[in-house]
């Protein structure tokens, strides 16, 4: 019954799909696999050339732009190949029986469950797509997912970094995704990988906007608040880069804390639909707002199974401050200052930067059976894992970064690196002019020095730095292959080059 349909794409290449009469159905599209399953062809269900020619042509116009100029703008730049894994971009356009279809690469293997749910996959989700919702809800995280699928807290930071970076790339090309949600971002917390999909909803400036408002949980307040207005009304808010920023902030909050930042205990209306609209829209309030506490989650409403082993829904036990100062600041900006003032929302680049800096604050939990395994050092003299409650025992070196001002003095950067055994220093720590992003050459991504706790001492081994200086010991050079002991107050210059950083060691002692 299944037959292979062969078409010619707008690129001139052959595009094939297997019509089995039973496509996978997305919100807007019917999706068929190619014969070798390396790509899919997705047809827009509600657009028909024979029914509404103008709508169809508008869509075709927008898609054409996405698969040609917009795609080339991202992938044909320096470092363009980096985006292949992060942005699942449609690359060809076909027409069949009055419907418009796009060819999109099939998702990579790690975005499908290899184990699935607990107890020998009692839900039968092995082999299914890793919809982000599985990882964003306390119920699924605590109760349903098998431990092999969950990943550790470090991996969620990396997942968020990939999402922020992919979003930043779209935004820097002037494009809004318009429907960022856990349905449209694939995540693999076992590896930290993520990919943004459904890029056919991209808002191309100057073209007709797509027919979506977004997905519940991620729709920006101003879009919900104006949805009753006609599409052509100038006060109606449509998806844009600013609404993407809201969705991105919600997603990062949900992957790190496994709860929704706006779903609290406040009741706005007795009708569930109106209540939902108000609590996500015009009346939305951050559940952890510092002064307006009206929307704090009510623990009495939470099922016990959502609270164990990790009490994610309980903001008093796991406040968002556990994400560290940089992310806390951005959450405030996104959910307090910018919630109803889109211009104040942090950009995707802000998130990327804060996540990179947060990685430097992360350290392994000393409790070997801690489920989350990593946590952020909260600049406390008695650090303790917020997830399992285990206190840090022993010496904990904290490196404070300083950078030369134009006047030639070193000034503090509000950037620290937490040391643990096996922790690495990378080029982007050494020099402030090097940023960890897609433009780095593979060689520059390798560690240049590393830390170890050896014979009861913390040491730094120089692997690749050709001007590492012990400033506290009259600028003594530390050659490649040798090591230096890390002690309280020690000052080390990582590079003599322009932009080279100075580190000052602070040793926290907890016995």
């Amino acid at each position: 019954m299944a037959k292979t349909i062969t078409l010619v794409g707008i690129s001139g290449n052959t595009i094939e799909f297997v019509d089995n009469g039973d496509p996978m159905q997305g919100g807007m599209k019917d999706v068929y696999f190619s014969p070798d399953k390396s790509y899919v062809v997705a047809f827009f269900r509600d657009y028909d050339f024979n029914k509404n020619r103008q709508e169809y042509n508008n869509l075709k116009d927008r898609m054409l732009e996405i698969v040609t100029t917009k795609k080339d703008g991202v992938f044909k730049q320096e470092g363009g190949a980096y985006w292949t894994d992060l942005l699942c971009w449609p690359y060809d356009l076909v027409e069949h029986n009055g419907k418009l279809g796009i060819a999109v690469p099939a998702y990579q293997k790690h975005f499908f469950f290899s184990v699935g749910s607990k107890n020998n996959d009692f839900l039968g989700i092995k082999g299914k797509e890793k919809n982000g919702k599985w990882f964003a809800s306390p119920f699924h995280f605590n109760k349903n997912l098998d431990a092999h699928e969950k990943g550790d807290w470090y991996k969620y930071i990396i997942v968020c970094l990939h999402i922020a970076r992919a979003t930043r790339r779209l935004h820097s090309a002037g494009l809004a995704h318009s429907d960022l949600s856990y349905n449209n971002v694939l995540v693999d917390p076992t590896s930290g990988k993520a990919a943004v999909i459904d890029l056919d909803g991209l808002v191309v400036p100057g073209k007709f906007p797509p027919d979506v408002m977004g997905t519940p949980d991620f729709i920006a307040p101003e879009v919900l608040a104006t949805k009753h207005l006609a599409k052509t009304d100038s006060n109606r808010k449509h998806p844009s880069i600013q609404t993407d920023r809201h969705a991105l902030a919600v997603m990062i909050y949900m992957y790190l804390l496994h709860r929704h930042p706006l779903r609290g205990g406040k009741i706005h209306d007795l009708d569930p639909v109106k209540d939902e609209e108000l609590s996500m829209g015009s009346k939305s309030v951050f559940i952890e707002h510092s002064t307006d506490k009206s929307n704090r989650p009510k623990m009495a409403d939470v099922k016990p199974s959502h609270l164990t082993p990790t009490p994610w829904p309980d903001v008093s036990k796991l406040p968002y401050s556990l994400c560290g100062p940089y992310l806390q600041g951005l959450f405030n900006q996104a959910f307090i200052d910018g919630l109803h003032n889109p211009a104040l929302r942090p950009s995707a680049g802000d998130w990327e930067h804060a996540l990179v800096k947060t990685i430097d604050l992360i350290q392994p939990c000393q409790n070997k059976s801690c489920e989350l395994k990593w946590y952020v050092f909260d600049n406390n003299t008695k650090p303790k894992c917020p997830f399992c409650g285990t206190s840090y025992k022993g010496q904990l070196p904290v490196l404070n970064f300083y950078v030369k001002t134009p006047a030639g003095k070193f000034s503090y950067e509000n950037h620290r690196l937490m040391v643990y055994s096996g922790q690495n220093i990378y080029q982007w720590h050494v020099n402030k002019n090097i940023l960890p992003n897609e433009r780095l050459a593979p060689e520059t991504k390798k560690p240049v020095a590393d830390f170890h706790f050896h014979n009861n001492k913390w040491i730094l081994i120089n692997r690749k730095l050709n001007s590492l200086l012990d400033v506290s010991d009259s600028n003594k050079e530390i050659p490649i292959g040798s090591s230096i002991e890390i002690t309280d107050g020690k000052q080390i210059l990582l590079s003599k080059e322009d932009g080279g950083r100075l580190i000052i060691v602070q040793l926290v002692n907890n016995q």
Binding site: R45, D179, P209, I267
Partner: protein, 212 residues
């Protein structure tokens, strides 16, 4: 904090459903539950209840969360009337007891969904008509009635809801498509939302015809 989405299924088990039709319904139900459990949104919110009706009305599955749900067996008598009116009566009583309505201190349920499947027409017309306004007053998000097979009567179902679909046959393939559509209708709340007026239900598959 997660609202429940109550889903009620009223299934005709009168004599004419015996054999392939009811077996197909069971297979369709199993596939529906299994697919809803694979949907992280549905698994978190959907609560399912099944009432069967023939001469008797049976509450074979009280409102149960998907995670703890085991489908009960469904038995059909040799012959007998189709007491849909009595089924609505039981449903009315149950809903009044079970719904969690929003209050100033508690978030209530999502608007519940009701799916009715029958291959005939109500034998207890007076009771059926008596309970139509009562059921309508309960505030269902949608009520879908399915007239299955050639002997089914769409007209009487039209009295209850404007969403009436017709199945030409009562075989396994048609029921499988029908329950797939039901499960898609249950999951739709978490999909991308269009900027126009929201269509409450996804379009039915080709062998499930909307009755206009």
């Amino acid at each position: 904090m997660v609202r429940r989405l109550p889903v009620y299924l009223l299934l005709d088990t009168s004599g004419s459903m015996k054999g392939e039709p009811i077996e197909s319904v069971k297979v369709g139900l199993e596939a529906m539950v299994s697919s809803l459990r694979k949907d992280p949104f549905a698994l978190e919110s959907v609560h399912l209840s099944i009432i069967t009706f023939d001469r008797e009305v049976k509450d074979i599955l009280p409102l149960t969360e998907l995670e703890n749900l085991t489908l009960p067996d469904i038995i059909t008598p040799e012959s007998g009337p189709t007491h849909l009116g009595m089924a609505l009566e039981l449903l009315y009583e149950r809903c009044n007891k079970e719904f969690i309505r929003g209050s100033s201190t508690q978030k209530g349920d999502w608007k519940p969904l009701l799916f009715i499947m029958t291959d005939g027409k109500p034998s207890d017309m007076a009771k059926y008509q008596e309970f139509i306004p009562k059921i309508q007053s309960l505030g269902f998000g949608s009520i879908v009635a399915c007239a299955a097979g050639p002997k089914s009567n769409s007209e009487s179902l039209k009295l209850l809801t404007e969403n009436v679909v017709h199945l030409d046959t009562t075989d396994s393939s048609t029921f499988s498509h029908f329950f797939k559509w039901v499960s898609a209708s249950v999951s739709i709340g978490n999909r991308s939302q269009g900027s126009g007026d929201n269509n409450e239900l996804p379009p039915p598959p080709p062998d499930v015809h909307p009755v206009i």
